[in-house]
């Protein structure tokens, strides 16, 4: 059996990994140069508790299950998971009622470690929280992760179990015979023949991919969220994920510690009128509102000396507001996993499980487990997380562990070379895998070093090295030919 997954975000890669447990061939196609660089890259990076999704929805079901599955991902894929807990804050008795509704909802969803706390405990949980808040819904099972590493690690593990991972190439069409897709055509001209099952996990483009095969799916709507990333110093003011009360517009603008020690403010939630997935821009109004909300939750957090960068992410949704995970009626072997809005990252491992273990058998796909499936990947070394003596012996064996390229986040040359072996082809590819360039100097001291290492390891001229996409050149030719 040959299965093809379209899209290399958290959803596509975890589905590909889930498929690689079974006999048959798995091919994953990602049109960008790297995995996890779409929706997966720019979100709040939260493993949600799952107390605010309607119990009857797929979201409600898969969020709580996904949350549980992250412990396994952490063990098997060495993905960083830190269950720091979350709080939703409320000011008065009226708002407290909303917390109680959330509590009941969470209990119906089976959320673990969920309770309402009063001012005294809130103060202990989050000492810098605004004095305006008197109650909070505490969820101890909520946490944070590094979303793109989920996608990258899942793809490494899928590849280890036989899957083929294609990047920088997209599906542009295909051939349908007897109501089944038989062949997929890629932008590069490559044809994938004898296809048995196609899974559309194309993120913002799920509707576009479905239309390639005349499959009807709920129309996609795009929602943009703007964020501000703050310096590690801001972490003194925040310990947990801090949510305002949710509203009709969503979970609101939060204050979130990041896995590498910084703090994220945001997101806004702006519905885009047209299908403009490239509109990843920030706005004056958006950034102002993110800052204002941050200040309201934690006074002092909006401190200009802590600004590191602002960015925007786009997430897809359908008018039904739920995930859309269905086999096509028009075609026998096409499954769409679309409209994966929040809490998509949390639900992702459960979505993969649901698609492969429940949905595929329901359309007649029979799966036979491999005897030699290996769920683990080898842990990549981060010297920052190792004791001094251990780093010292690493340097003895490989001096590149002693050459620190990114000084802000303590990333060595050896780690950068490893990330290139793991598939990084661009400066961002290295950055997202190693955290080099993510710190407070934003690559001011290391971006050119990373570009040089890429050039050396890939055997390419420096002018061929890109920041991310093919158009994102960094340097263009030499100053002098001879010097």
């Amino acid at each position: 059996m040959r299965s093809v997954v379209i899209g290399g975000g958290v959803i596509g890669t975890l589905i590909a990994r889930q498929l690689s447990r079974f006999e048959g061939e798995v091919i994953l196609i990602e049109k960008r140069e790297d995995l996890g660089q779409g929706i997966t890259k720019a979100n709040s990076a939260i493993i949600h508790g799952g107390y605010d999704d309607p119990p009857a929805s797929l979201r409600g079901k898969l969020c709580v299950r996904g949350n549980e599955l992250y412990d396994g991902l952490a063990r098997e894929l060495k993905v960083p998971v830190n269950r720091i807990g979350s709080i939703v804050v409320a000011k008065n008795e009226e708002e407290l009622k909303k917390l109680q509704e959330l509590l009941l909802n969470g209990q119906a969803n089976g959320v673990r470690d969920l309770r309402i706390v009063g001012r005294e405990e809130l103060q202990m949980l989050e000492p810098a929280i605004s004095s305006a808040f008197n109650y909070a819904l505490y969820c101890g099972s909520a946490g944070i992760t590094e979303p793109w590493m989920v996608a990258i690690a899942a793809s490494i593990n899928a590849a280890r179990n036989g899957a083929e991972i294609i990047t920088g190439d997209g599906v542009v069409g295909g051939r349908i015979e007897k109501n089944s897709i038989k062949c997929l055509s890629l932008a590069s001209g490559r044809e994938i023949e004898n296809v048995d099952i196609v899974i559309n996990a194309a993120g913002l483009f799920y509707e576009k991919v479905a239309r390639l095969f005349n499959v009807e799916v709920p129309p996609v709507k795009l929602r943009r969220g703007e964020y501000i990333l703050l310096d590690k110093k801001a972490r003194d003011l925040v310990r947990r994920i801090v949510f305002p009360l949710p509203s009709a517009a969503g979970k609101g603008r939060l204050v979130v510690p990041t896995i590498d020690g910084g703090v994220l403010l945001g997101p806004t939630s702006e519905e885009l009128q047209d299908f403009t997935p490239q509109e990843l821009k920030t706005t004056v109004e958006g950034l102002d509102s993110v800052r204002r909300s941050g200040r309201e939750l934690i006074p002092g957090i909006d401190s200009p000396q802590w600004y590191i960068k602002s960015f925007a992410g786009i997430r897809p949704e359908s008018s039904g507001k739920d995930f859309y995970i269905k086999a096509a009626r028009e075609i026998n072997n096409f499954v769409t996993v679309g409209a994966i809005r929040s809490p998509g990252l949390t639900a992702a491992p459960a979505i993969a499980e649901h698609v492969v273990l429940e949905l595929l058998p329901s359309i007649g796909v029979s799966l036979k487990e491999k005897r030699d499936f290996d769920p683990f990947i080898e842990e990549r070394i981060r010297i920052k997380e190792l004791p001094f003596e251990t780093v010292s012996s690493l340097i003895e064996n490989d001096h590149r562990y002693g050459r620190i390229i990114c000084q802000c986040n303590e990333v060595s040359e050896a780690e950068i070379v490893q990330s290139i072996r793991d598939g990084a082809r661009t400066v961002d590819g290295v950055k997202f895998r190693t955290r080099a360039g993510f710190g407070r100097c934003q690559g001011g001291f290391c971006s050119w070093k990373i570009a040089s290492i890429l050039s050396r390891e890939l055997g390419k001229d420096l002018s061929e090295i890109r920041q991310n996409v093919p158009e994102s050149w960094i340097t263009d030719g030499k100053v002098r030919e001879q010097c």
């Binding site: 501000i228 990333l229 310096d231 590690k232 490239q278 990843l280 821009k281 920030t282 706005t283 004056v284 950034l287 200009p304 000396q305 600004y307 590191i308 960068k309 602002s310 960015f311 010297i383 001094f388 003596e389 780093v391 010292s392 340097i395 003895e396 001096h399 590149r400 562990y401 002693g402 050459r403 620190i404 000084q407 303590e410 060595s412 407070r440 100097c441 934003q442 690559g443 001011g444 001291f445 971006s447 050119w448 040089s452 420096l462 002018s463 890109r466 920041q467 991310n468 996409v469 093919p470 158009e471 994102s472 050149w473 960094i474 340097t475 263009d476 030719g477 030499k478 100053v479 002098r480």
Partner: protein, 412 residues
């Protein structure tokens, strides 16, 4: 094997301040270890291939690399151990023990005295919260300078410079000389941020326009930068509606200021909120005994000569401290009066001459610097924040401060 070493003076950072410091400490006869993160010492001087350095420190006009190599040559004649490509992983400033990584191995270094000379970094684009896309082609001027002068690479074809700090002005000229079209330099303030001589020599001589009270209000481009939107701003730096226009460029070169690199130590050492650098005395000692700081991590200086001179003083005091010689005397704090921005030092030690470095808050036609309790005045004309005013008071004249318990510096 983990190398455990002892040194008299451990200097962190081998730029102008660190090199001068290591040299002067070594000349006091102590053993010095200098940690440098790049593959050779020199710091940003190595890529500043233009001239204009050294007039005060060496009484001779030099390029950046010439200035650096003179210090290196002198250091080579003294007892200085340099560890290149090194990184301070952890440090206990009170015990003066540093854990250091380098390709040669890991070191644990116990020092008699510490000098922190970590310099400054460029303010990154991200921290400005300028709206728009996030394409490549937006870079601090120092990164552009690194590419052109040391990596032999052209990082732009058509560029605009945001911020008229010295390095932005220098790079406007440098890129022009290498065939890059520089469409202009934008400055959100109503006066330039860099030295007057650089406005003349880098912009006017090359017909590069300087747009004051103007800033970038949006950046656009998927992949590479395609255009920037620029707008006029009012005195609060708020864009004025109706003044925006687009400029097609593939590079935005940032000269938006330098930030003293203090964060790795600021949990232990006091930082001056205006200078944003370590609070030091005129012996260059920080708020922790035996820990000294000098150079751009104390405040952003306008001349490398000042940085080297301060490093020199820090080195001498660190060396004496490491030998157990108490060189510090009575101390009084220095307070900012009217019109004073950056002010170094923050504390006067009676045993050392007082070298004051002052930046005005705003340009002034003329004025007088007043050291209130010392009854010392110095007149100036055409003072601008970009050019520091330096004042030296001999230590013999500092005694009146003991009665007042403070020194107030103001400009009238």
């Amino acid at each position: 094997m983990l190398k455990r070493e002892k040194t008299d003076v451990l200097v962190i950072g081998g730029g102008a301040a660190g090199m001068a410091c290591a040299l002067s400490a070594a000349k006091e006869g102590v053993y010095v270890t200098l940690l440098e993160r790049e593959s050779s010492v020199g710091g940003v001087l190595n890529q500043c291939i233009h001239n204009g350095f050294g007039l005060q420190f060496y009484h001779q006009e030099l390029t950046g690399p010439e200035f650096a190599s003179r210090l290196i040559d002198e250091m080579n004649m003294e007892n200085v151990k340099i560890i290149n490509q090194s990184y301070v992983r952890d440090i206990d400033v009170r015990k003066r023990v540093a854990q250091v990584l380098s390709p040669d191995g890991a070191y644990e270094i116990q020092a008699g005295a510490l000098v922190i000379s970590t310099g400054a970094r460029e303010r990154p684009f991200g921290s400005l919260l300028i709206p728009g896309d996030r394409p490549s082609g937006i870079m601090p001027a120092g990164v552009a300078q690194r590419y052109v002068n040391l990596e032999n690479r052209i990082p732009a074809r058509k560029a605009v410079v945001l911020g008229s700090g010295d390095i932005g002005l220098i790079m406007a000229r440098r890129l022009t000389l290498e065939g890059v079209e520089v469409v202009g330099v934008l400055e959100r303030m109503s006066y330039p941020g860099g030295l007057t001589r650089n406005i003349v020599q880098c912009l006017e001589d090359f017909d590069i326009p300087l747009h004051l009270s103007t800033t970038v209000t949006e950046v656009r481009g998927e992949g590479r930068l395609r255009s920037v939107e620029v707008s006029k701003v009012d005195e609060n730096f708020t864009p004025i509606p109706g003044t925006s226009r687009n400029i097609d460029v593939d590079a935005l070169i940032l000269s938006a200021g330098l930030l003293p690199q203090v964060e790795d130590f600021s949990d232990d050492l006091e930082v001056d909120p205006v200078n944003r650098g370590f609070l030091v005395s005129n012996t260059c000692e920080s708020s922790v005994e035996g820990v000294f700081a000098a150079g751009n991590n104390v405040a952003v200086f306008d001349l490398v000569d000042y940085v080297a001179a301060e490093g020199w003083i820090a080195g001498r005091h660190a060396a004496l401290f490491s030998r157990g010689v108490n060189t510090s005397g009575d101390r009084v704090p220095i307070f900012r009066g009217k019109n004073i921005g950056v002010l170094v030092p923050g504390i006067v030690d009676m045993e050392e001459h007082l070298r004051l470095y002052i930046r005005l808050r705003k340009p002034m036609e003329k004025g007088v610097v007043v050291l209130r309790e010392l009854k010392i005045e110095k007149k100036f004309s055409y003072g601008v924040p970009s050019e520091m005013i330096q004042l030296v008071v001999n230590r013999d004249k500092l005694q009146p401060l003991m009665n007042h318990g403070r020194l107030t510096v103001e400009v009238q």
